[in-house]
């Protein structure tokens, strides 16, 4: 593996110049490289949106599925072949809007996957409607009087659901975000990393500078195993904390819970049909 391992040659991304997605792509490649994950061993599952295009731009197996539906295939991929590293990555609209139900239930299952959300607080690809995370008052051609719904808080929700790893990052901070992503990927179990990402075209409120000014990092003394403390931090919104909010190491992963994988991690594609047992079943009748 070398610096080029993840490059796909010349790519003309579909992203705007200055968009936070570029730096997330960059961070992703560095993270994977430093973790020495082989492209062939990695599957990135995404939905539809600007963020969701990310696997097209680096070397990896990918399943670029339907809008809102990254988590179900990601979960199935992991349990069908636990040897693969699985990342589910998409936008805020994708994961928390269309895909909200899968978000809840993926957390409940706790498969060992990393869920990365490019949170630009807007629908980018469809040109600037509010997303679930858009702030109160955010005006768009549809929310003409500004958003009136409580912004979705993925961090507090994930903690409420006792997700096993919950973090927030900022696309503008390569070093720190990389370190958070590394922890998330190395964590055994479901890990959500919500990444603040400026959309320079459709979100003129939550800009790079806005994120800079309105965030701070949880400090070293912060104890990420305390769920109540984590919740307290998660609902703080004068300034938005960044970092790892919560880790629950006591949970088994979904695949560990499956009887199938308790002996070994044999992928399903190696299954051999047991015709003798079928014959026995048939002979039994009902």
């Amino acid at each position: 593996m070398n610096e080029k391992t993840y490059d796909v040659g010349l790519v003309n991304t579909a992203w705007c110049p200055g968009c936070g997605n570029h730096s997330i792509l960059n961070i992703m490649k560095q993270t994977l490289l430093e973790l020495k994950i082989k492209p062939g061993n990695l599957v990135v599952v995404s939905g539809i949106g600007q963020a969701a295009k990310i696997p097209q731009y680096f070397k990896t197996n990918y399943f670029n599925g339907l809008h809102g539906r990254a988590l179900p295939p990601a979960t199935a991929i992991k349990i069908s072949n636990p040897n693969l590293t699985v990342i589910a990555e998409s936008g805020d609209g994708d994961m928390y809007g269309e895909g909200g139900n899968h978000f809840i239930h993926a957390i409940r299952r706790n498969p060992d996957i990393t869920n990365i959300v490019h949170n630009n607080m807007v629908y980018g690809l469809t040109k600037g409607q509010a997303s679930p995370t858009s702030e109160y008052g955010f005006r768009t051609p549809i929310q003409i009087n500004g958003v009136v719904s409580e912004p979705f808080n993925p961090i507090s929700t994930a903690i409420a659901l006792d997700a096993s790893f919950v973090a927030r990052a900022f696309s503008g901070d390569i070093k720190k975000t990389k370190s958070i992503l590394k922890k998330a990927i190395q964590h055994k179990g479901y890990a959500i990393v919500d990444i603040f990402q400026p959309c320079v075209t459709f979100n003129k409120i939550n800009t790079f500078d806005w994120f800079k000014e309105n965030t701070y990092y949880l400090d070293d003394s912060y104890n990420s195993t305390d769920r109540i403390e984590a919740f307290k931090k998660s609902i703080q919104n004068d300034k938005l904390p960044l970092g790892v909010f919560y880790v629950n190491k006591n949970k088994k992963t979904f695949e560990q819970n499956l009887k199938l994988h308790q002996q070994n991690n044999k992928p399903l594609f190696k299954n051999i049909v047991k015709f003798d047992k079928i014959l026995k079943l048939i002979s039994l009748g009902t």
């Binding site: 097209q56 199935a76 069908s80």
Partner: protein
Amino acid sequence: MDDISIVLCGEAGQGIQTVEKLFTKIVKKAGFNVFSTKEYMSRVRGGSNSTQIRISSKPVSAYIDRIDILIPLSDESLEHVKKRISKKTLIIGEDKYIKNSKTNNKIEIPITQLAKSIGNIIYSNTIAVGLLSSICGINKKILNNTIEEYFINKKKELVKNNIKAANKGYENCLEQINKDKIKTIISPPNKKNDNIILNGVETIGLGALAGGCNFISSYPMSPSTGLLTFLSKHSKEFNIIAEQAEDEISAINMVLGAWYVGARGMVTTSGGGYALMTEGVSLAGMIESPVVIHLGQRPAPATGLPTRTEQGDLEHAIYSSHGEFPKIIFAPGTLEDGFYLTQKAFNLADKYQIPVYILTDQYFIDSFYDIPKLDIKNINNINHFIKTDKDYKRYKITKNGISPRGIPGYGNGLVCIDSDEHDEEGRITENSDIRIKMVNKRLKKLSEIKKEIIPPELYGEKDYKILVIGWGSTYHIIREAIENISRKDIAFLYFKQVYPLHNETINYLNKAEKTIIVENNATSQFSKLIRQQTGYEIKNKILQYDGSPFSVETIIKEIQKMRES
């Protein structure tokens, strides 16, 4: 008589199912052929449900209206089946349930009292089994042995009491027989019956196992849940992942994820759940993923009649989903077809990288009968995925439209799939030349698929004038009706593959002077498909859409009407 129809009628939760299971085992052991089917309300307790058990010395496998023996087990029972009671119907049961019957052809047996005398009214069911056994002239030894087997994992006390109960029922009834109040109206044939008894959902489940199914993700929905239960039950033995999804959308997207890494996955659902899956089906079309869909039909629209039967989702299955891509739809009409077609479905889905449907319905799913042991000797599963090399391209343009399917983690290539239109490598493109190539490639698979369409099967006279057309679960009903009519000019054309249609279809139709379609729906969806594909209009339609299956009698009557008109 060598074919009697017994009907048990009572409330949900009374345990009629135990009678059904136990008694069918007993009669089969006694050498009879047996068929049983049930209709039940969408509720957990109360209401009125009924189960028909047909016993015969030759194979039986269709629902009939006729009731030879009725066992009412609740206040509402007589009312519930009143249309089916004739003068010849013998009604057996407790005084309070039979007293309102106007017929004299009835026998009182104090079932509850007998049960109580054994210690618990739950023994009523076994008492019923006993008395039915006695009417059918079944050897007591068979009765006792089967009960012992059936309760093998239960406490000794319970086994003993059940045997006692069965014998009480048996004796009590025998007494009546001896008094000449009833006759043993049927006797066991002098043969051994080595058949197995299965119902529709088990046969689909076994077919799935034989097809290498190792992943199912679904959301409970009547009448399709049984398949999820079946595969869950056998999940340990067969290394299957059986997951209850949070909703149907998740279910199908999970299954596509599973196929992506080389598992063999399926979903099981019914109309409303399937509606939610249709976007996922379209995804399968685009990423060219195999997927097997068991769609157990029930009356709609919307929630409709959740536990009843209909063939109303044929068009839904064919045309749902946005965009144009090939699929295959099987509609088994026999238990054997249920097994072999499901097994085949996995292999065709894998071969052509398309959705393949098993279209059943509540009637098919819930009907039991005995069939010869399924033969699995010649069954072949081929995994169509390949080991990738470094330059692997998931959507390579090939002559027949099929690109070798790689899976991540097997070989040196990368497997990139995309719900957007994509190039050979699986990357997004908006290039119109590539778009055209990809559409053509996907549709080209249809020509290959057409080469192996299962042809419709003709039963009855080859030189027919009247041709009755049916598909799926009506098979045995129509067949028995045709056999009953037994005239030289009539035949029955049975479709077990309903989509795409076989080319021979039009020739069969053209040969007939009169064609009659039989469908368990209100708009005759299959005849619309036939006309769309062949131009041929079937004008005579026997349609039923009240949630119940056709009876053999209805088909006979309707055909007779039409042949005269």
